[in-house]
């Protein structure tokens, strides 16, 4: 039994390994990109539109709505990053209905890479939003004593992101594999359905947490205090 698709290696040359994680990621990327290209090739701006265009618009506007709900002021700016995070994780989860497929997110390497992206993106968005000095100063809020704790928090939450997603996706795959060996009928299907739900929830959690981190980093200290002093309503 493979604990991670990293171990399913198709081709290897030195330290370069073409494993299932990378291959299935490419496949997902191809599906997402080609599907988007095919649908957005014939977009209409009138009142009549295709059901695929409707689907894409619903997805995109829903993601924008969620980003706005988190408190990010200009959601279009973060849409590419957060939207792709969500769609990739969700697609990786939904594709588990395909026989022989293993989700790349069940690999700690993938989730670590995504968490590293978040780890880099948060300060980038923070600095571009409020400037380097203000951003760095935010690590010393409310007092400079908090600096190490803030740094630790930054690292641990990234680790938590990676491990949470990996644990959920891997466990789903593991449970199905174990159940298949114990009770090959009915139960694996139920667990598969549950796995789909868990995958969607994890995609949502991963994206929302990333959005929350970015929102915390982009909000200036003045703006962060403003809601406290502002009268309610």
């Amino acid at each position: 039994m493979r604990l991670t698709p990293d171990n399913w290696i198709f081709w290897e040359y030195g330290f370069i390994k073409l494993n299932a994680t990378i291959v299935f990621t490419w496949a997902l990327m191809a599906v997402l990109v080609v599907g988007s290209m095919l649908i957005t090739r014939r977009l209409t701006t009138g009142h009549e539109r295709s059901r695929w265009q409707n689907l894409l618009e619903i997805v995109v506007t829903a993601i924008i709505g969620q980003i706005e709900d988190v408190g990010l002021q200009n959601p279009h700016r973060y849409l590419s990053f957060l939207g792709t995070l969500f769609l990739f994780v969700a697609a990786a989860s939904l594709a588990t209905v395909t026989p022989g497929y293993e989700p790349p997110t069940a690999s700690l390497s993938t989730t670590a890479a995504l968490a590293l992206c978040v780890l880099v993106a948060v300060p980038l968005f923070g600095i571009s939003s409020q400037g380097l000095a203000a951003y760095l100063k935010s690590y010393m809020q409310p007092t400079p004593i908090m600096l190490p704790f803030n740094l630790i928090s930054e690292v641990t939450r990234t680790l938590a992101l990676a491990v949470r997603l990996f644990g959920n996706m891997m466990s789903g795959a593991m449970i199905i594999a174990i159940l298949l060996s114990i009770t090959p009928f009915v139960f694996p299907i139920v667990m598969e359905v549950l796995g789909l739900l868990t995958g969607m929830v994890q995609a949502y959690i991963f994206t929302i947490l990333a959005a929350v981190y970015i929102a915390a980093a982009t909000r200036s200290s003045k703006a962060a205090k403003a809601p406290l002093s502002a009268p309610e309503g």
């Binding site: 390994k17 990327m29 990109v33 988007s36 279009h76 990739f88 790349p104 993938t110």
Partner: protein
């Protein structure tokens, strides 16, 4: 080891590429399409608002025009009604006048007709009466009307009072061959009757009285003797006048009869 750092790097790169591709092929086109649609909808809403405002304005103008039109129509109708009433009164007055004129003309024509009818009746009656009298006299006494007329003339001058007879005599005596006494009758006098009258005159006035004889239909079955403004006559016209007076009393009755 669960983490393969090469895979991490590859996935990092993959994810960055995916972000770019998704932005290029999904988010941007979809957001552009949504923005274009929103702009289009906003434009259409603005157009609709403008159209509605224009429609409201046109409706208000139309209602105002309708109101003005109604008022003008009412005014024109009132004016036309008044003019029609005036014209009606004028036409009625004209018609009344014309009817009055026609009625007068008709009354006049009726009167003329009545008079003409009256004259015709008188004439016919005279003819009939004369004819009846002639027949009656011929049948009963075997005498002609002419004979009786002459006899009646002679009898009449015997019946007149003395003064009248004297005046007549003076007038007759003054006649001569140039200015004879005029004896007019409705019919041609037979020689015997003329001789009888001549003899009676000569005998009455003691001299020969010159006579000029004329036939005059207007004397109407009678005979008259005139000289120097004096006249002695007999005719059935006297009876007919009495009869005519009787007819004049109720013309409708005799005309319908």
């Amino acid at each position: 080891m669960l983490i393969d750092w090469f895979t991490v790097a590859a996935q990092l790169l993959n994810f960055i590429i995916l972000v770019y591709l998704m932005k290029r092929f999904l988010y941007k086109p979809v957001l552009d399409a949504i923005a274009a649609r929103e702009a289009k909808i906003a434009r259409e809403l603005a157009d609709a608002a403008e159209t509605r405002a224009r429609a409201h304005q046109q409706q208000a103008e139309f209602e105002q025009k309708n109101k003005t039109f109604d008022e003008q129509r009412a005014a024109l109708l009132s004016e036309a009604t008044q003019a029609a009433n005036t014209e009606r009164e004028r036409l009625l007055a004209e018609a009344r006048k014309a009817a009055e004129v026609a009625s007068k003309a008709r009354a006049k024509a009726l009167q003329a007709d009545t008079q003409a009818l009256h004259g015709e009746i008188v004439r016919k009656t005279q003819q009939r009466v004369l004819e009846i009298a002639r027949r009656t006299l011929a049948d009963l006494a075997d005498v002609s009307v002419e004979q009786r007329a002459c006899a009646m003339l002679i009898q009449r001058w015997h019946e007149v009072d003395g003064a009248t007879l004297a005046a007549l005599g003076t007038a007759l005596k003054a006649t001569s061959a140039q200015t004879p006494a005029l004896l007019r009758s409705a019919f041609d006098l037979p020689p015997e009757q003329l001789a009888a009258i001549q003899a009676a005159l000569n005998e009455t006035f003691g001299q020969t009285i010159e006579l000029k004889v004329e036939t005059a239909p207007e004397v109407i079955s009678g005979i008259e003797l005139s000289a120097q403004g004096q006249k002695l006559a007999w005719s059935i016209a006297d009876y007919l006048t009495a009869f005519s007076d009787k007819l004049d009393e109720d013309p409708t009755k005799w005309s319908s009869a």
